[in-house]
């Protein structure tokens, strides 16, 4: 009986966090090459392809990316829900592999956001005074920024639970502490709670240092069967659970500004894995903003709803604590080219392989990655294990 348990066998990063020599296509290609080299799988063996660029007008759109790479998949997935797309890809890859629809899946991402900075007009209107179609005609006239959208969740959480700026800042500080250990992190200089709360306010109550960095970067993950992984270069990392949940898309439609779909995706992923939050050794959570990670800590069950602030401030999230967070430095300090989900999977895999370097979590056996797409909208939770169960 062939063991079709899905495993992550290969991972690869492109040149991050600043790479003026690469465009978005180049980031995809380099990350894919490195993931293939990491595991030793031949490109010709890839029969499943997943990519989150859904805009046909872009040179790195999913169909074209497969063509550029010379991959003709029998299983194709272009799910594009923002930063969590890659957690959803793992969910879909795991199901497809178990079902025998494909054997070796390449999930790939790349972006030159930093190098292109200043050329992106943002969401809604593409030029001043433009007529905006669809639901955004009820948001665009008011000038809410992307940061302002997440700020609305932070503001409501503070109102309901008394969460403080200092508690949110503890998340940014934990990430910076880990970034200092990562030679490839964008910002590595040590930082204090005071540095965060004294940084300039961008959108109340989020300060500059509550916000993720803007980077170039790409990443690739290869999912295959436990059977195939036996002959590959790296120890397999098992996909123990993978689930997703969307509660809304646009921020004006968020049903409860203090709760995300991670409540549902987390519950389902833990049930699949037969594990509880107590079993998790490290978490890689999408920290687009400090509030994003804080809501996930609560929604995934690492602390009770409303207690994310004190939990973050307790020191649990730093290396040596009970639940080290974003051991590569996260989006807040390390790398954020626009959609960070792939990096969560790569860092979780490194930790379970024991390749975490100075940021290695001692004895890590179970890691959880949770992506957030849109405006706290589409959540994807993946639980990975060093062992099968």
């Amino acid at each position: 009986m062939v063991d079709r348990t899905p495993v992550i066998a290969g991972i690869g990063l492109s040149d991050c966090p600043k790479a003026p020599h690469l465009d978005a296509v180049g980031h995809h290609v380099l990350a894919a090459q490195r993931a293939l080299a990491d595991c030793g799988l031949a490109k010709s063996e890839i029969d499943g392809f997943m990519c989150a660029q859904g805009d046909f007008a872009q040179p790195d759109n999913a169909g074209t990316m497969a063509e550029i790479l010379g991959i003709n998949p029998r299983y194709f997935d272009g799910t594009a829900v923002g930063g969590s797309s890659f957690e959803l890809h793992v969910q879909h890859a795991a199901a497809a592999i178990r079902a025998g629809l494909c054997d070796n899946v390449l999930i790939v991402y790349g972006s030159d956001l930093y190098t292109q900075s200043g050329t992106n007009p943002g969401f809604g209107a593409k030029k001043p005074g433009e007529a905006v179609p669809g639901v955004l005609q009820f948001e665009a006239p008011w000038g809410n920024s992307l940061i302002g959208a997440y700020a609305m969740a932070a503001q409501r959480h503070m109102h309901e639970y008394g969460t403080t700026s200092e508690q949110l800042a503890a998340i940014a500080v934990a990430c910076r502490t880990h970034a200092a250990l990562n030679p490839n992190a964008q910002y590595r200089k040590p930082m204090t709670i005071e540095d965060v709360v004294n940084s300039r306010m961008i959108a109340d109550p989020l300060h500059l240092l509550d916000c993720c960095v803007v980077s170039d970067g790409g990443g690739a993950v290869i999912v295959t069967t436990a059977e195939r992984a036996r002959d590959l270069r790296q120890p397999p990392v098992y996909v123990l659970g993978a689930a997703s949940a969307q509660t809304h898309w646009n921020i004006s439609q968020m049903p409860d500004y203090t709760r995300t779909g991670a409540e549902r995706s987390g519950k389902e992923a833990f049930a699949q894995a037969g594990l509880t939050p107590d079993d998790v050794d490290t978490v890689q959570l999408y920290d687009s903003f400090t509030i994003t990670a804080l809501l996930m800590l609560e929604d995934l069950g690492f602390c009770k709803k409303g207690e994310g602030g004190p939990f973050a401030a307790s020191g649990a999230l730093q290396l040596g604590g009970a639940l080290p967070l974003n051991t590569d430095g996260g989006a807040l300090s390390s790398c954020h080219p626009g959609m960070r989900g792939i990096f969560l999977l790569i860092e979780a895999t490194r930790q379970l392989r024991g390749q975490g370097g100075e940021a290695q979590v001692e004895g890590a056996e179970v890691a959880l990655a949770c992506g957030s797409g849109g405006w706290l909208s589409a959540m994807g939770t993946v639980i990975l294990g060093k062992d099968k169960a």
């Binding site: 943002g122 001043p128 005074g129 006239p141 302002g148 503001q155 409501r156 109340d204």
Partner: protein
């Protein structure tokens, strides 16, 4: 033409993104010219919703319209102090709120008529329309008197 008049402290309109009316949203924007704020109400299940769309999100029926009293409370908000996008880069800081209408649905808008630092969750606000063009007036929110 619009029945609503421009308040003395109206925010600037020049360069502001404008709505592109479609079959679902035209009745809403036409009502703004009369100084009325509409939400949708389902004739089958009584569910109320905003933004306007072709389907009741609860039961799947075709929604009708309800004229609101134009009053509500700030459910959550942010004060945008940095925005690189023209024209908003000229207007910072400004408050963007989710207003929970007395009728139930929430609507996004700017709070005017007070300092941005005075905006609070739970604050009662009422709508004030500012003429935009021949098709729409924009609903702004000010502290309820």
């Amino acid at each position: 033409m619009t029945n609503v008049t421009t308040p003395a402290d109206a925010p600037p309109m020049e360069g502001r993104p404008v709505p592109l009316l479609d079959a679902s949203t035209r009745p809403y924007w036409e009502a703004t010219l009369r100084g009325e704020l509409l939400v949708q109400e389902c004739p089958e299940c009584d569910h109320r919703q905003f933004y306007p769309r072709q389907i009741c999100v609860e039961c799947g029926a075709v929604p009708g319209w309800l004229t609101t009293g134009g009053k509500g409370v700030v459910h959550t908000f942010s004060v945008v102090r940095q925005n690189g996008a023209f024209p908003f880069n000229q207007w910072t800081p400004y408050a963007v709120a989710m207003v929970e209408l007395d009728e139930g649905p929430r609507i996004m808008g700017n709070v005017i008529g007070c300092e941005v630092d005075e905006v609070r969750i739970g604050m009662r606000v009422e709508v004030d329309f500012v003429p935009l063009n021949d098709e729409a007036a924009l609903p702004f929110w000010r502290p309820a008197g």
